[in-house]
C-alpha cells in the first residue's frame, strides 16, 4: 500500500551527514517529501525527520539502506505508532480583502495566530499535527491563499 511515512533518523553529528542521507535516498530513487535536520540535547547527536511516500516494502528498504550508513544510530518509522507527538508548523498568507470575519472565526477555531496584517493580506501562523495543518489549508483555500511555507514534520515519543 502506497502511503506517507514519517521516519526519524538518529545520526552521529558529522559533517555532511544530511547530504549523505539525501544523496542515498535520491540515488536509490526515493522521493523525499520533507526532510529536516537539527541538533538535539546531545551535541554529538543529530536528528533527521524525513517524510517519504512508498509501499511498506519499499519503506522497509529505505529503512535498511538508512541503517546501513555508518553514521546512522537508529531509524524509526513512526507512521504506524500512536505514541508519538507529531507537529508541523505553517506560515500562511491569505487574501484579506473580504470575508474577514469568517477567516477570523477559522483562526479562532484552529487557535492559530495572526502575525502580520496588511491592507490586502493576513499572515497566520499555526502549529499542530499534520492533519490539522492540512485541514486549515483546505478551509482557507476558498478565501484565496497567496502563499504558504510548511516546516515539515517533527516528532517526539510520548514516554
Amino acid at each position: 500500500m502506497e502511503g506517507k511515512h514519517t521516519i526519524i533518523i538518529t545520526v552521529a553529528n558529522h559533517i555532511g551527514v544530511l547530504a549523505r542521507i539525501s544523496g542515498l535516498l535520491s540515488s536509490r530513487g526515493y522521493n523525499i517529501e520533507s526532510i529536516i535536520g537539527a541538533p538535539t540535547e546531545n551535541p554529538d547527536i543529530y536528528k533527521i525527520h524525513l517524510v517519504v511516500k512508498g509501499t511498506d516494502e519499499r519503506i522497509e528498504q529505505v529503512k535498511k539502506q538508512l541503517n546501513k550508513l555508518i553514521d546512522t544510530i537508529k531509524v524509526v518509522d513512526i507512521s504506524h505508532s500512536q505514541n508519538y507527538i507529531v507537529r508541523e508548523f505553517i506560515l500562511i498568507k491569505v487574501n484579506a480583502t473580504k470575508n474577514l470575519s469568517e477567516i477570523f472565526q477559522l483562526i479562532n477555531v484552529f487557535r492559530a495566530k495572526i502575525v502580520d496584517v496588511t491592507k490586502s493580506h493576513l499572515t497566520i501562523d499555526l502549529s499542530g499535527p499534520p492533519r490539522k495543518i492540512e485541514r486549515f489549508i483546505e478551509l482557507l483555500t476558498p478565501y484565496g491563499i497567496k502563499e504558504f511555507v510548511r516546516s515539515g514534520e517533527v516528532a517526539l515519543k510520548e514516554t
Binding site: 545520526v11 552521529a12 559533517i15 555532511g16 547530504a19 549523505r20 544523496g23 540515488s27 554529538d44 516494502e57 522497509e60 528498504q61 535498511k64 539502506q65 541503517n67 546501513k68 550508513l69 555508518i70 553514521d71 546512522t72 544510530i73 537508529k74
Partner: protein
C-alpha cells in the same frame, strides 16, 4: 609529528606494507615521508585508476585492506571507477586522496574537486579530515570500516595543510568506538534452527553461494557442511573458488551465462539456501519465475540485501562463517537422494563444450581450457570484463578461494591488468595470470610500464577477437547484427554499414594495435599464437618466463558465449548454443 608522518605511521600500525599510487602537488608532503620509509613498498602506477584496481586486486588476493594514495583534483576523480568497482564487489580498500589546503576548499582552487561529495556515492564510507587532531582516529576508523562487516572501500580526503601541520601528543588509537556501526556476525539461533528443519524436510535442497563465502573465509565450513549434507551447490561469479570445481556436488555458476545444470537446479529446487550473495539480476534473470518452486533462505551479513531483490522466507543476518558453523551443528546428516541424481544427470547431459579442430581458428574457450590445464591450484587468475571473463568462469577450473579475481558487480573493463599487479605483489612466488580481451587490455595498457619497471611478473593473456565481444554478441543475437562501434579495427576504410568481419578486413594490418610490439616497447616479452598448434607452446613459454610476459591469442572473431539466458528471461529459457 606532522600529519604526513602520522599517516604513514598509522598505515604501518594497520599492517600496510604496500601502497599503490601517484604523486601530485597536494600530496608531496606525504610522498616526502614515504620516500624515507623502509617498511612500506610504494608502487608507482601509470594512472590513478590503475592504482585503485591494484589495491583492489591486492585486497582480493589477500583479504587484507589494499591502500592507494593519489593527489587532489584529477588524481582523486581518476580513482572513482576503481572505488565503485570495489564497492560493488565488497572489497576492502582505503583510498587516500590529497586535497587543497582547508582555507582554499570551496574556492575552485587549482586541482580542487569535491572528493567528499564524489566519494560519498561510491564508498562504504568516506572522510574529509579537517584538522590534524582528527587524523589518527579517522585512519583507525577507515580501516575498521573497510574490513569489517560487509567490506568495502573507504575514502580519506586529506587537505595539504592537515598533512603539514603538527600534532604534539600523537598516539594511535587501539580501539574504535562507533555509536551506530556494529555489524551482526552471529545469525539468530532460532532462525538457524528453523532453516535446519527446512533442510531436513526438503526433498530438493540447493545451496546458492556467493562472494560472501570467500570474504568470510568460510570455504572450510562450507566444505564440512557439504560433506555432511550432500546438498548440490551453485556458485556465483564472485564465489568461484570457494568450492573446488571438481566437487561432485558443484553444478557450476548460475545465471545469464551459467551452466544448464545450475540454472535448472534453481528452477527445480524446493529449498534454495542462499549464503553470502545478493540475487543479482545477472543471476536471477526473470525475478517472477526465479526459483518459483522453492522456499528461499537468505544468509547475508548485510541486512539491506535481504529481501531487496527477492522475497525471502527465512532471513538470517550474519557472517557466513559463523552461520555455516552453527547450521552444521543443527542439521541432520543427509545422504544423496534422487534429487542429487537428477542434478548429476543434468551435469552429464549438458556439459560445457566447444569444438576445436586442429586446422580451424583458435577458439577462446580452448585457450582458457589449456590455461586451466597448465595452472596449479594456487595460480591466481585475474580476468577483465566481457566474453573472455565468462569463458574463464566456465572453463577455468577454480580450486581455491581467492584464486579467481574478477570484476563482477561493476563490470569494469580495464580491471584485469592492474588488479593482477596487485595480486602478484601480494604473492610474488605464485603464478598470476591476467586474462583480458583486446578491449579491456587497452583500457589500462599503460600499466605495462608499471609491471616492467617494478618487475611484477604478471603473465598477461590477451584473448584477441578484435571486437568488444560481449556487446557484439548482444548485437548479433538481439540487435539485428548491427555491429555498431564494437569492432576495434573499424576505420575510415571500412564499408559504411559493416555487417561483421570478413576475410578482407585483415588486409594491411592483421595486428592492430600490435600488442606484442606494445609489450616490447615497455620492455616486456611479447608472444603471439595465431594457430591452434601454437597455443600450448606460447602458454608454456610465457608462464615459464621470469618477469612479466604478454601473450596474445588471435581467436575466432564471431564466437559467442553459451549457454545464455537472454536478458529478462526465465533461467529455464536458457539457450545452449547456436546449433
Amino acid at each position: 609529528m606532522t600529519g604526513a608522518e602520522i599517516l604513514i605511521d598509522a598505515l604501518k600500525k594497520e599492517g600496510v606494507n604496500v601502497i599503490f599510487g601517484y604523486p601530485g602537488g597536494a600530496v608531496i608532503p606525504i610522498f616526502d615521508v614515504l620516500f624515507k620509509e623502509k617498511d612500506i613498498k610504494f608502487i608507482l602506477t601509470r594512472h590513478e585508476q590503475g592504482a585503485t584496481h591494484a589495491a583492489d586486486g591486492y585486497a582480493r588476493a589477500t583479504g587484507k585492506v589494499g591502500v592507494c594514495i593519489v593527489t587532489s583534483g584529477p588524481g582523486a576523480t581518476n580513482t572513482i571507477t576503481g572505488i565503485a568497482n570495489a564497492k560493488l564487489d565488497s572489497v576492502p580498500i582505503v583510498v587516500i586522496s590529497g586535497q587543497v589546503s582547508t582555507n582554499y576548499i570551496g574556492t575552485d582552487a587549482f586541482q580542487e574537486t569535491d572528493m567528499d561529495g564524489l566519494a560519498r556515492s561510491v564508498c562504504k564510507h568516506n572522510y574529509l579530515v579537517q584538522k590534524v587532531e582528527d587524523l589518527p582516529q579517522v585512519i583507525k576508523k577507515a580501516f575498521y570500516i573497510a574490513r569489517s562487516g560487509r567490506p568495502g572501500p573507504v575514502s580519506i580526503d586529506l587537505p595539504k595543510d592537515v598533512t603539514t601541520s603538527s600534532l604534539k601528543n600523537y598516539t594511535y588509537p587501539e580501539t574504535v568506538d562507533m555509536l551506530g556501526y556494529k555489524p551482526t556476525l552471529n545469525g539468530n539461533a532460532r532462525q538457524i534452527e528453523k532453516l535446519a528443519i527446512y533442510i531436513d524436510n526438503a526433498e530438493k535442497p540447493l545451496l546458492y553461494t556467493g562472494g560472501g563465502i570467500i570474504t568470510a573465509g568460510a570455504a572450510e565450513e562450507l566444505d564440512k557442511f557439504l560433506k555432511k549434507t550432500n546438498i548440490p551447490i551453485v556458485v556465483t561469479l564472485m564465489g568461484l573458488g570457494s568450492v573446488p570445481s571438481d566437487n561432485k556436488l558443484f553444478l557450476g555458476m548460475p545465471g545469464m551465462h551459467g551452466t544448464v545444470s545450475a540454472n535448472y537446479a534453481i528452477m527445480e529446487c524446493d529449498l534454495l539456501i542462499a549464503i553470502g550473495n545478493r540475487f543479482d539480476d545477472r543471476v536471477t534473470g526473470n525475478k517472477q519465475t526465479f526459483a518459483k518452486n522453492a522456499k528461499i533462505a537468505h544468509v547475508d551479513i548485510d541486512p539491506a540485501e535481504i529481501g531487496k531483490n527477492i522475497k525471502t522466507h527465512i532471513p538470517i543476518v550474519g557472517d557466513a562463517k559463523n552461520v555455516l558453523a552453527d547450521l552444521y551443528k543443527k542439521v541432520k546428516p543427509r545422504e544423496p537422494n534422487e534429487w542429487n541424481e537428477v542434478t548429476e544427470e543434468w551435469k552429464k547431459n549438458y556439459p560445457l563444450k566447444y569444438n576445436q579442430s586442429e586446422n580451424s581458428e583458435i577458439l577462446p574457450q580452448y585457450v582458457i581450457d589449456r590455461i586451466s590445464h597448465l595452472s596449479k591450484d594456487d595460480t591466481i587468475i585475474v580476468t577483465d570484463v566481457g566474453q573472455h571473463q565468462m569463458w574463464c568462469a566456465l572453463f577455468y577450473k577454480q580450486m581455491k578461494p581467492r584464486t579467481f579475481l574478477s570484476s563482477g558487480g561493476l563490470g569494469t573493463m580495464g580491471f584485469g591488468l592492474p588488479a593482477a599487479m596487485g595480486a602478484s605483489i601480494a604473492f610474488p612466488d605464485r603464478t598470476v595470470i591476467n586474462i583480458s580481451g583486446d578491449g579491456g587490455i587497452q583500457m589500462n595498457i599503460q600499466e605495462l610500464a608499471t609491471c616492467s619497471v617494478n618487475k611484477i611478473p604478471v603473465k598477461i593473456v590477451v584473448i584477441n577477437n578484435s571486437f568488444l565481444g560481449m556487446v557484439r554478441q548482444w548485437q548479433d543475437l538481439f540487435w539485428n547484427k548491427n555491429y555498431a562501434f564494437t569492432c576495434l579495427k573499424q576505420g575510415p576504410g571500412c564499408p559504411d554499414k559493416c555487417k561483421g568481419p570478413t576475410e578482407k578486413c585483415e588486409s594491411g594490418r592483421p595486428y592492430f594495435p600490435d600488442l606484442v610490439k606494445v609489450a616490447e616497447a615497455n620492455g616486456i616479452k611479447g608472444l603471439r599464437a595465431t594457430k591452434v598448434s601454437e597455443v600450448d607452446a606460447v602458454l608454456q613459454e610465457g608462464i615459464n618466463t621470469d618477469g612479466p610476459v604478454l601473450m596474445e591469442f588471435m581467436v575466432k572473431k564471431t564466437e559467442n558465449v553459451y549457454p545464455m539466458v537472454p536478458p529478462g528471461k526465465s533461467l529455464d529459457e536458457i539457450i545452449m548454443g547456436e546449433e
